[in-house]
């Protein structure tokens, strides 16, 4: 078993988090794939996610639950840094990227809720973040200067009327576990960001599944529309400007997705190594063929770089723009490295890599979705450039 040298976290803790994730992956995630389902038997998923809450891997805003502090993106994030969550996500993603994405989405929403000091009208167990609208995540500055010739504007608005916030607008590509209790919605209040907690079954909340997708199918993806949804003022999470929460949400989102991609690629490389040692062609194991060696070695080198990039995100504040720039750059490069690694590992399987039997095609589908999701490369490049530009933020 490898032990990752990780800055800012002791070796025992690394081992602890990795072992915890490995146990969960082995006992809960792996059984989903025992029948002939390319994405696992998803009817077993609710039970497996319940286990994640029980053993404290899944974070929840409810302080009575085990993962509240030390679950993925739990409340202890300021104290431990991102590394425990990165390790957990990465190890789980080696077995299933979709389940890792479920836990990640739950964690991001929980983290925003756990940061609220005042009493909320209700505490959900399962929550999801609603940030993106239409084509891509917001360009941070556009809500501040809505009249500027900026490429995107936040159209979800909250208006205070009769001591209630009225929310209107629609959010797209909301990732979550199934059956969420509430949404954490980032929208516009006058010309500033606001962050709100809205019950999933509130009047005026409409949810639509996005339909058949390429990958990460264990994770639910919806479009959520708010049509005059009314919430009490206490359900506003920020103190007048939620810009820092937007930055934090994007930071966590991209860091977590990069960690998941690294895990998927590591899983693919492990499977390729194993297959190459077992499969014979040309009278010898295929690991003896230079073509296969080159593919696997190239993939492993790419994964090492990707992992180093993700680990480098450990030391900086989650609410800073500089960190946001780093996590955008990390998502951009890590996705490229990991998708290249996965496709090369799949290639070593020949025709079998394309079939559902070995799970390689699932890994490729999953990592490809991660690359486009919540910030495509074009968008990320734009935001990396814009962060440095005065006035854009």
């Amino acid at each position: 078993m490898d032990r990752e040298p990780v800055a800012g976290i002791c070796a025992e803790d690394v081992t602890h988090y990795q072992d915890l994730a490995r146990q969960y992956a082995k006992k809960s995630v792996l059984p989903i794939f025992q029948d002939e389902y390319s994405d696992g038997n998803l009817s077993l998923l609710p039970d497996k996610l319940k286990t994640a809450f029980e053993i404290g891997i899944a974070a929840a805003p409810d302080e009575s639950l085990a993962g509240c502090q030390y679950g993925i993106w739990g409340g202890a994030l300021e104290e431990t840094g991102i590394m425990p969550s990165v390790l957990l996500l990465s190890v789980i993603a080696e077995t299933c990227g979709g389940i890792a994405m479920c836990l990640h989405a739950q964690g991001v929403a929980s983290n925003l809720l756990l940061g609220v000091k005042r009493k909320l009208p209700f505490i959900p167990v399962r929550a999801a973040l609603c940030l993106q609208e239409g084509f891509c995540p917001p360009f941070i500055g556009t809500v501040i200067s809505p009249d500027k010739d900026a490429p995107a504007k936040i159209t979800t608005t909250a208006v205070l009327k009769n001591n209630k916030y009225i929310i209107n607008g629609s959010k797209s590509f909301v990732y979550s576990m199934n059956d969420v209790d509430a949404y954490v919605v980032l929208g516009r209040v006058n010309d500033q960001w606001g962050c709100f907690l809205i019950g999933a079954n509130e009047k005026g909340v409409e949810r639509t599944d996005v339909g058949v997708r390429t990958g990460l199918r264990a994770c639910l993806v919806e479009h959520v529309r708010f049509n005059n949804a009314e919430i009490p003022p206490e359900a506003r999470l920020d103190d007048g400007d939620a810009r820092e929460l937007v930055i934090r949400a994007l930071n966590l989102n991209w860091t977590g997705m990069a960690a998941i991609a690294t895990g998927i690629a590591k899983g693919a490389a492990g499977a390729a190594r194993k297959y190459a040692a077992e499969r014979y062609q040309g009278g010898t194991q295929i690991e003896e063929h230079p073509a296969v060696k080159m593919l696997i070695a190239g993939a492993e080198a790419g994964i090492a770089s990707a992992q180093a990039t993700v680990f480098s995100l450990q030391d900086s504040s989650l609410d800073s723009l500089q960190k946001l720039r780093k996590s955008a750059a990390a998502k951009l490069t890590v996705m490229e490295l990991c998708s290249r690694a996965v496709t090369d590992c799949l290639q070593t399987f020949g025709g079998y890599g394309y079939m559902e039997d070995f799970g390689m095609e699932k890994r490729l589908r999953d990592v490809t979705v991660l690359k486009s999701a919540s910030g495509s490369p074009t968008y990320l490049k734009q935001i990396i450039f814009d962060i440095e530009k005065e006035g854009a933020l």
């Binding site: 339909g211 010898t284 079939m355």
Partner: protein
């Protein structure tokens, strides 16, 4: 005169600026306003152009409406109607010229598979699975033609063609070389020499024919084919004895095993074929005994440019859908297509596709396809197609991975073209092998 910036930009566009040239100068500037597709089509000879237009029409009319459901539920659709429609339109008989087949005569003798490649690209823009369903038939038929045996051509290929072309019967053929323990091995010389093959044919003097035993896997159209060209070694001999046999559906002992569950190209089956003491009459031996290896390698030389063309089709399909998405999607105050970074990316995709198309067309513009040309075209086109599909998905952001937008389906389809007809690594070695005695000659000590 004071012109606005827009007016000045308008004046500087080549088409308008040309008006200031003299008549002869104007004649030398190509200012025709036509699409990328039309521009390329105009470069083709009349016969090939005709098939390109016909295939585009067919793919829009027949393949497009069927594609999403055939991909989602491959076992719930009937492939026979589309096979019959393709046969009626002459797409299933392009390996021979009239009156026996349907290929345009002069282009056929200038490039045997050129017309098939052109058709393959058009079909694949709509659906990789349905394109494979229709085109794998040509692959199954090719050993009969390339065996050079008039006996096989007249007795087996032509009757099949006539039924298909004249009666529009939805019959199809499949090509079976891959075995569970030998995938890449049967597509490359060194691997072939060491391959462990299980499909064998034993001569029976009593029955005056061969008894076939063994198994093949990943056979495209294997589950629906009426006839299959199967390669088997002769008993107690190695792969050098490989012989091609024509196995017919209904022959005793011939059955179809499991159908693979694939990531893409799902509308076409990839099946396991099982031969359990199947009696093959002597007349069903394709070409000469022990000529199978050469026949197989030559079939690959002819089929690889077509696979490259199919890959190109996947890339083009993804590009066209992405372009349409960029036209109709707003980002802030403007359409996506109005942003320069999006334009750069779209242009890059179009350039890549044009390069791949040029290579494919070049590789099959001769009567005999050759190993290095075919392998190079297949590798470049399939790598390019996968790259373009990825670019399209990325440009569309989260919308790229939705099945309803069609791009992700083509992305899944395109990945297979880097694997079948020899993995791209095997194809690279094929290029090297072809020129081993010339360009890549080993130094003499």
């Amino acid at each position: 005169m004071n012109h606005s910036l827009e007016e000045r930009i308008e004046q500087l566009k080549l088409k308008n600026a040309t008006q200031k040239m003299n008549a002869f100068g104007r004649l030398l500037v190509d200012n025709r306003e036509m699409s990328l597709w039309e521009h390329d089509t105009k470069t083709l000879s009349w016969g090939v152009r005709r098939w390109r237009r016909k295939a585009l029409k067919f793919s829009r009319e027949y393949i497009r409406p069927l594609a999403p459901q055939a991909d989602l539920h491959p076992h719930d659709y009937d492939p026979k109607p589309i096979l019959a429609a393709a046969a009626r339109h002459g797409f299933q008989t392009l390996l021979l010229v009239p009156p026996l087949g349907s290929a345009s005569i002069i282009p056929y003798f200038r490039g045997t598979v050129f017309q098939v490649a052109v058709v393959g690209e058009e079909f694949a823009t709509e659906c990789g699975g349905l394109a494979l369903l229709l085109l794998a038939h040509n692959l199954g038929m090719a050993p009969l033609l390339l065996s050079g045996s008039l006996r096989n051509i007249f007795r087996q290929m032509i009757p099949f063609y006539l039924k298909s072309h004249i009666l529009g019967r939805p019959e199809c053929m499949a090509f079976a070389i891959t075995e569970p323990g030998a995938g890449s091995d049967v597509e490359e010389t060194e691997g072939g020499a060491k391959a462990k093959l299980i499909t064998t044919a034993k001569y029976s003097s009593e029955l005056n024919g061969y008894i076939l035993n063994g198994q093949k896997c990943f056979i495209s159209d294997g589950a629906i084919a009426d006839k299959v060209t199967v390669y088997a070694r002769l008993e107690d001999e190695g792969i050098e004895s490989w012989t091609c046999f024509l196995v017919e559906r209904g022959m005793k002992g011939f059955s179809v095993g499991r159908s693979e569950r694939k990531m893409g190209q799902r509308a076409s089956d990839a099946s396991e074929l099982i031969f359990d003491n199947v009696f093959i009459p002597k007349k069903n031996v394709v070409g000469k005994l022990r000529s199978g290896w050469a026949n197989n390698r030559n079939v690959l030389n002819y089929s690889r440019p077509v696979v490259g063309a199919m890959a190109l089709g996947h890339g083009r399909g993804a590009f066209e859908r992405c372009l349409e998405f960029c036209r109709r999607t707003n980002l802030g105050p403007k359409r996506l297509i109005e942003y320069q970074d999006v334009q750069l990316e779209l242009a890059d995709m179009a350039i890549s596709l044009w390069a791949a198309r040029s290579m494919i067309w070049q590789s099959c513009k001769q009567f005999r396809c050759y190993q290095s040309g075919s392998a190079s075209a297949k590798v470049f086109a399939s790598d390019t197609a996968f790259k373009v599909c990825n670019q399209a998905m990325e440009l569309m952001g989260d919308h790229g991975y939705l099945h309803s937008n069609g791009v992700e389906r083509l992305w899944r389809d395109s990945r297979l073209t880097q694997i079948y007809e020899g993995t791209n690594q095997i194809n690279r070695l094929a290029l090297f092998e072809h020129h081993l005695s010339t360009d890549f000659k080993m130094p003499v000590e």
